[in-house]
């Protein structure tokens, strides 16, 4: 079997995978992203490179992915539909594949009003479901969105998407997830989980619909670094669900960072035992340095790449 990426190979072989995230810098210094990458090298099977996350201008995810490849690390290039239309997106898919990118995560993208250019015009020519379908068709059918055929090589990529177990109704979210899988998503990274009970119910629904057999699901974990961060996650970040108990643990802790770390470890252990969860996606916002210890303490061996 020829796998498109290490991530696909590990997931297909039934291994429990770890992915983590690296945000490119707000400048053109490649050493900034290299330093961050060095910190987490060997701790995960693949590394998400964010695409102007929260609509703040940063080094492009394509450039960030290439820098990772040069370090023998496997990137998951994130692509949002906010800043490029279908012409730009398809062009970058070809470019990324030519440079060796083998995993792409398709997102609609945060609205530009959240970022550092709120007066910008959002593109949103297509959405994440359409982007998945377009790249899948480029890869499998050899055609662009217009139906025009690709002339040289097809982009050989493993396709991912995001899902949020905490937004909207279960029913509409499940419908949306199914649509993403139908469109071409082969792996899913979820929103950060704090409320395991609700996540577990969401997974029950995922399994009852057989979706766990059609897609590899990676549960999101974001360690809480401070009470302030817990507060932000609980009250201000849309689509996250921090239960009162977790919030209180952070509030009452003498060392909140230590408590946040302990909570993250517990979450990883609980999530790992839920049927249908094939991996963990760790996003340590402004706290990347703890990832190596967290992965090790959670009982995962060092990764080759």
């Amino acid at each position: 079997m020829n796998y498109r990426s290490n991530l696909e190979k590990r997931l297909s072989e039934g291994q429990f995978v770890i992915t983590t995230e690296i945000g490119p810098p707000k400048g053109s210094d490649a050493s900034k992203i290299r330093d961050k990458a060095m910190m987490v090298k060997g701790c995960a099977d693949a590394f998400n490179i964010t695409d102007n996350q929260t609509a703040v201008v940063r080094m492009s995810s394509l450039a960030g992915s290439l820098i990772l490849l040069q370090m023998d690390m496997e990137p998951i290039m994130q692509m949002t539909c906010r800043d490029r239309n279908r012409i730009g997106l398809q062009s970058d898919v070809l470019g990324a594949a030519a440079l060796g990118v083998r995993n792409i995560l398709c997102l609609t993208g945060d609205h530009q009003s959240f970022g550092n250019h709120p007066t910008a015009k959002g593109v949103f020519d297509i959405d994440s479901v359409q982007l998945l379908q377009i790249i899948k068709n480029m890869r499998d059918a050899g055609v662009f969105q217009s139906g025009d055929p690709l002339l040289a090589q097809r982009p050989c990529v493993f396709l991912g998407a995001a899902a949020n177990p905490y937004s909207g109704s279960f029913e509409s979210q499940m419908n949306h997830l199914r649509k993403k899988i139908d469109a071409g998503a082969e792996f899913i990274q979820t929103q950060s989980v704090y409320n395991v009970e609700k996540f577990s119910r969401w997974m029950d629904e995922v399994r009852s619909q057989g979706l766990d057999k059609r897609v590899h699901l990676l549960a999101g974990v974001t360690p809480l670094k401070s009470v302030k961060m817990a507060e932000r996650m609980k009250f201000h970040v849309p689509g996250t669900d921090v239960p009162d108990a977790v919030y209180q643990r952070m509030e009452n802790a003498s060392d909140p960072a230590k408590e946040g770390y302990a909570i993250a470890l517990e979450l990883i252990r609980e999530l790992k035992s839920i049927a249908g969860v094939h991996g963990i996606h760790i996003t340590a916002l402004f706290w990347e340095e703890i990832i190596p210890a967290l992965v090790k303490d959670a009982g995962f061996n060092a990764r080759i790449c």
Partner: protein
């Protein structure tokens, strides 16, 4: 004026499927565009009936985008409306949604496509004038709008594709930047065009505002 274009009848029939259906027109823009006035609604009624699709009734709302007025007017059509689960609306997208607001349990079918804000230049000739960008810049360009009329919405035009006063997108389109240039020249105000216009504040457009 909101400029609309009626969908072709085959398209309407395909979406509509079977009858019976209640028809809604609009006394204002759609009447002036000849896409949803009384004349067009009666013609549509005839067309549908010829194809064995029963029409339970019709109304020309005055105008369709006036929620409270619609509710008052529709009170007289209870019997006709009870006979159908489908309402075919010939107004702009705004009017159709106002009607949808009133009939949450019925299927709303739009018979028109909504194109732009425009002027009636001659009978049945409409010109695009505005795309509701939320921040009017007409004063900078001699009263002509490049945001809505230049296909690239350029604020520092013209582009290299402008040729003999025509747009690169199609020779049927005038290059609005050519007109802006000629207009400001006539006014002796070409200096206005030497100013580099900064990127536009698109957050002022309607996208983030649902209600004012």
């Amino acid at each position: 004026m909101i400029i609309t274009k009626q969908k072709n009848i085959e398209q309407i029939l395909q979406i509509l499927g079977t009858g019976p259906v209640f028809l809604v027109g609009c006394s204002e823009c759609a009447t002036l565009c000849h896409t949803g006035g009384k004349y067009e609604i009666l013609a549509m009624k005839k067309t549908l009936e010829q194809r064995n699709i029963p029409v339970s009734g019709y109304v020309i709302l005055d105008p369709a985008c006036h929620l409270q007025n619609d509710k008052r007017m529709l009170k007289d059509y209870g019997k006709e409306l009870d006979k159908t689960m489908k309402i075919l609306v010939f107004s702009c997208g705004n009017g159709a949604q106002t009607v949808a607001e009133i009939f949450s349990e019925k299927e709303i079918i739009t018979g028109n496509d909504t194109l732009f804000l425009g002027e009636i230049s001659h009978a049945n000739e409409f010109n695009k004038r505005c795309m509701l960008c939320g921040e009017c810049l007409l004063d900078l360009f001699g009263g002509l709008c490049p945001v809505s009329q230049c296909p690239k919405s350029m604020l520092n035009g013209p582009c290299g594709g402008s040729s003999d006063g025509k747009c690169e997108v199609g020779s049927q389109l005038e290059c609005v930047w050519d007109r802006i240039y000629q207009g400001l020249k006539k006014q002796g105000n070409l200096k206005a065009l030497s100013i580099i216009q900064k990127p536009k504040d698109w957050s002022k457009a309607g996208e983030l505002k649902r209600r004012i």
